[in-house]
Symmetry: D5
Subunit: 120 residues, 10 copies
């Protein structure tokens, strides 16, 4: 699972002199529960303030699709995606909100964020 982030393409931030927010909402994320083997579904909301690089949208979609048959827990996959994007983009700020569909009558949201030191 470690080389997934190679799927991610980037392009140069067209306005690096301004702190502005980019938000991508992907409502069709799916992976597999490592315990039961049953599919999990989530909506992922990515917000970030780009530094020098922005993530290319189509590659981000393929990156998310690559988890389709991976067995991974809610908490772990959310932190893993944030870590990959932070490594590739080195953003000034990044937040990932993962809203998982109900399982056993309980729905879950995981929210993780990253702040660049000395940047904002």
């Amino acid at each position: 699972m470690d080389n997934k982030k190679e799927i991610l393409d980037v392009f140069d931030n067209p306005n690096p002199e301004r702190n502005y927010i980019i938000e991508h909402t992907a409502p069709e994320f799916t992976s597999v529960c490592p315990k039961t083997g049953l599919p999990d579904f989530a909506t992922l909301i990515l917000e970030y303030i780009p530094n020098k690089l922005c993530v290319e949208l189509k590659s981000y979609k393929y990156y998310l699709n690559s988890f389709r048959n991976d067995g991974i827990y809610f908490e772990a996959v959310t932190n893993k995606i944030l870590d990959d994007l932070v490594q590739v983009l080195n953003p000034r700020y990044m937040k990932l909100t993962a809203k998982f569909n109900t399982r056993g009558g309980i729905s879950s949201i995981i929210i993780a964020e990253h702040k660049q030191e000395k940047s904002l």
Copy 2:
């Protein structure tokens, strides 16, 4: 009612070095009014920042189900669930919002939170 918290299972926080939020929404909580014997219904929203432990979702569901035939007031059950989870998880932060269905034409929400000393 004191040994209910033994139902709760935990697992290791996969990212203890980051402060991130886990939120579980359980819309099917039910207990019994100690005065009238009639059932009460609530949606419980649990939000927490894990320390070393996370609550296992299925055990949390069984824990909530264990109140099904207990007679207990709105205010008491909300504080009791928060106390149990704080004892088992020792979270950096935890908040429980219990939205009770209308009784006698009036609906009620109880919101309680716990902050770990010197942690946030």
Copy 3:
């Protein structure tokens, strides 16, 4: 489970000469899955055209509450409630719609109706 219908109280239809519709929506029905022992939750929508009798609302509530700890399937409980009400009220028409909450990611609705012969 056979004497449950004795819980139901009735009162005289104040306008038996007119065919009119009575609809009661009970959003807090709960019983237990006979296979897993886990609670099921449903909203029950009862529609009927009264003949000589109407169901008293409070007794209908207590009748529904009596299923709280019974193990019974979606299809069976919907038909059972319809049968009991038909026997007690002998309505000109009756329809019961039971909307069960999601189980395993799938929600279910059961719709059953009764028509009095030679009445409408």
Copy 4:
């Protein structure tokens, strides 16, 4: 309660040669439960095809307000209001839908209609 319908004012239907529909929605109806003395609340939806007369809106409001402190059941008040309006207006068609707020966790709708013989 028998002389309530004297509160209702009428005016001449400006287009009696055409069958058209008038619908008035009154969301603030309130009366009193004769058993418990507690207030009931309902939204009343009146639909009718006028014959020679239409009901004047302000008088209809005062007519509905006159039930504020009357003790009367859901089924009875719906049929009573329909009967009064039919007597005063002699409409070609009339339907009254009364949507009562939840009582004891159950909400109720009563639907009654009147068809003029040999008119539609």
Copy 5:
């Protein structure tokens, strides 16, 4: 008020050989109550099957605006607008639904329709 319909412009139905539906929703109709002098507000929904002519949208807007300071009742203005459009367009079918905002806590809908003889 009789020459209002001269405001209405028309254009040739581009597909007179097919019965199809045109619906125009105008949410900003306003006139004046002839009794109180206070403004009334309504959403007008016009549906019709054109014959040889369609109503030009901008002229329809100016036609509706011409009622802005006229004193006229709900029932009368709905029938008046339908009559004007029927005379100008001679449609195969036409229906006008006028949804008036709440007055004295009661909202009203007037629905009138016209069917061409021997046409549908």
Copy 6:
């Protein structure tokens, strides 16, 4: 109107050592306009942090019902209810939001709050 607060019952706060929020929403408040004699309707949202006492829900309902036939203005009744509850409960914090239905095409909200000195 001064002895209305005697209707209010209280019970001991089960968790006085924690500052937590209790919110009760009562959507069926009604009183009478002192000018016109016409009924007013409101939804009352009460939020408070209890000190030593909590308000008993059924008595709060009867307390609100006691205004049913009182003539009192929006602003006055909102402040009066807050004052009564503050006197009876001595809460650490209390806020009352009263959302009144539209009158003459205008809806109104009154929001008043009370903070205990040296408590939060």
Copy 7:
């Protein structure tokens, strides 16, 4: 347009010792575009903390109605209404939010506020 504010009536604030919020929402404001002569429509939300005086609701309605046939721009009318109310009421705080319906496919909101010096 300068003497419009004489339409506004006031009454004494029943609780001047408490800072509380009064909010009036008027969804039926209409004036005329000075450029095109076409009507504009807006919802006006007035929020204020009264000082010694409150605005009487019916007079506020008539005040708003007085703009019905005035030609005035979005920005100007919002500031004009705020100025008039501030002069008449001398409130501790006042905010006016005017949400104008779409014109040429674009909807507009104007938000202006007034703070009394040395008051909050």
Copy 8:
């Protein structure tokens, strides 16, 4: 504009022995008003029962995009698209609902359908 339908690709209906419904909703249709040169926007809902052929989705999208800079009226474009699809697919039944965004404060819907002779 006559050769637009050549953009449309088809594929064989996988179940021609069953009458089933295919519905495609395209919320991003845009063309240009021939009078003002300003853009129009619509949501197109296509429903049909296929005969031997189904429309390929991507080609349908490119077909709709081809109207982007065409000057054409609401009524004409709706009938034109229906005619093209009927010619290419020869469906057992087809209906096109075009919901146009508000223009001058009025929104419009055009609904046209085609029935194959001797087919349903």
Copy 9:
């Protein structure tokens, strides 16, 4: 793909003497587009009148999950699932509505139904 229907379990219809409706809504169906290899997502609504057999809910879920990595078109998969369920259950009536998420800006719904000969 032909032996998928062996995943489906059944149980005896508890009320075969009554024609009643069972509806299962599965919002998490996913398969793969055979052209692009990209995932498709749909909500499947199954409605049927059981004959002698009902489908067991958990097996239906596993049956739907079995399409997760299959390449199959919208129209084909909808008809395939209907055919499998008809073969296994021999229902008196069955309808499958498959609502596919937007692809290329266009969302699609496929609706297929089966009627038992001489049964309804």
Copy 10:
């Protein structure tokens, strides 16, 4: 693309002595993806505190329409529009929120703001 801002007309701020907010929501923005040539659609929400000038609404609409056939990325077009408006209006504060429709199953929001130095 550099002379687009000449399309923008301005008028004098009628209340320059007050800091107030103007918000324009344009739900029909469309440009073209420079990579695929396919159209993009967005809702643009412009909020600003005017200094000496306000943007004239009709010219703003024509300015936005001028992007209809330009190939430009989400991030670039949002920053470009903000820059043009800042140059023309020199506002005390300005924020542009661009909500782009879903592309490849992912929707995007770009939020950029400008603060006048030493102004707020």
